[in-house]
Symmetry: C2
Subunit: 314 residues, 2 copies
DNA sequence: TTGTAGGCGTTATCAC
DNA sequence: GTGATAACGCCTACAA
């Protein structure tokens, strides 16, 4: 299978000219006889010549390539983020190599290692620790990341809203430590003197969670729960649907608030209230950070504020 | 900004060794004094040395890179396709450069041109004509593509199902020509002697369509419609929600069938019946095709069969 | 208009 | 263990 690729010289030999002339023909340089050019291109096509991007990149500094490592492409959170990165990269004439860890820390590490050799800078929505290479790296979406979300603020927006609506017994469906947001939730609940403790926070099984099951576990412990804040919309959607299956009216019997502001929330009945993140902008900001890194400027941390989008579910 | 990048030789000079020794240190080759290695790596880090992927790729034939051009990352159809491509590429140790045309033919053409120089093979969900370059190209998802969906079969499955359910006055919400599926729809409707003609097919405004508006236009023309087949699930979702807004009961007053089998269909109430495509597999098959192309084997056309997934909406 | 020389940054090969 | 030297495929000069 690995028959050495066709090079300029091969074409040159076959066409009876120097490799330089071939180069001229391929790159549409002016100084060449139209007839020669035609003939050379013809031969090139016959030989299925394809220029080596490596050789080209070597001589004329090639396109900048940014790696984008996400957790899961089919999780509706990521397409918007990816779209933001693609758009910002496109503006700059950059390429984007996308990879997915599939929520697996080992695959994540492997992907980072592999990308490290193939890209100029990496944007990573990482689960595990940041790698120690010299690779310019923009970490997004988690505590202490270069681009982070104001999770505390978001939790407060959600709780303020629910409390305004008269709720006191509010449960939370969280991700397992250390990814969850139980601390800000419990802390602010205490500040607002809600009658709830750590028992009101239910961790889902994994980072690819089933909100329905989690909600049922919450109700098993606290049947009197009147409102639920979920770690994200995917969990909230599962939870709210489970509630409907159990015959509960939403929001009368139980209100639901998600996190992320995914468009899928609007498909539910009633549509899901959510603490929205501008995911697209997050991707764009990540590319800006990457640009800074590449220029040698130190990265500055950016915190994205959330926006509460009140819909019918609360 | 373009300060020439640090090379092996720079490191070599700074460390007082030959560039070859630096190469050995960087690549963890055996034959080198541990102390030398340590020192060299130290210097390399200080100088922020990063190996050139181009030079590396040139000397040792580099990683295979496949370009993936989709229409819109945030359209829920594509993430699954992308996931399939990523998975199959990962298996082979390939990289994937993702680009989006944002449903714009000019941007699509530009993206193809740009990718042509940067990838070994391109997988494209194209709207416009296939480019004439020598670039190995796998076209997917449209009539006559290398990987295509059996649209006729899918339409028949949908109509058979609706007719079984007793429907006769069935409308279709289609994409504008030449992307739509009106022909197979009308043809099979005639074959099954349904009392409908071309007036029962409503084209949406664009390829990024509003199913709700289209449904309302359909009802304006044919208020007695009892079932709707949509070109895809995105349209169907919009249409069904519009129906609910109009106070229609689904499926009693009007049934809905989508196309694609997106997971978002399950969030609707009632969940959307759909002619499902295995999008993930489509991506995997595209990579297999790409592999064949790279090996010089001629591409063989593959037709993906659809599966009718009956849910509550019909 | 065309051909020849040199170098891009890296790795492989072979001396030392 | 280490260092010259020669590729890899291409492009930019400059010479013919």
């Amino acid at each position: 299978m690995e028959k050495r690729q066709v090079t300029l010289k091969d074409v040159a030999r076959a066409a009876g000219v120097s490799h330089q002339t071939v180069s001229r023909a391929i790159n549409d340089k002016g100084e060449i006889d139209p007839e020669t050019r035609r003939r050379v291109l013809e031969v090139a096509r016959e030989l299925r010549y394809r220029p080596s991007r490596f050789a080209r990149g070597l001589v004329s500094s090639g396109t900048i390539t940014v790696g984008l490592l996400v957790r899961e492409v089919v999780n509706p959170f990521f397409p918007e983020l990816i779209a933001g990165v693609l758009a910002a990269a496109d503006e700059r004439g950059w390429q984007v190599v996308v990879a997915s860890s599939e929520n697996d820390e080992r695959r994540e590490a492997a992907a980072v290692r592999s990308l490290a050799n193939q890209v100029d800078v990496l944007i990573g929505y990482l689960m595990g620790p940041a790698p120690e290479d010299g690779l310019p790296l923009v970490v997004i979406g988690r505590e202490g990341a270069d681009i982070d979300v104001d999770a505390e603020g978001g939790v407060r927006q959600a709780l303020d809203h629910l409390i305004d609506r008269g709720h006191r017994r509010i449960g939370m469906l969280d991700l397992p430590s250390p990814w969850g947001r139980r601390e800000p939730f419990l802390e602010y609940a205490r500040e607002r003197t809600l009658p709830i403790d750590a028992g009101w926070v239910i961790d889902t099984e994994s980072v690819d969670p089933d909100g329905g099951t989690a909600f049922e576990r919450l109700r098993a412990v606290h049947p009197d729960v009147t409102a639920v804040l979920a770690y994200n919309d995917v969990i909230a959607v599962g939870a709210q649907r489970a509630a409907r299956r159990l015959g509960l009216r939403v929001p009368e019997d139980c209100a639901f608030v998600g996190f992320d502001g995914l468009t899928i929330g609007d498909l539910l009945e009633p549509p899901l209230t959510s603490v929205a993140i501008d995911k697209r902008r997050m991707g764009e900001l990540a590319v800006e950070q990457a640009e800074r890194l590449l220029a040698g400027t130190p990265a500055d941390r950016i915190i994205l504020e959330t926006t509460l989008e009140v819909k019918g579910s609360s």
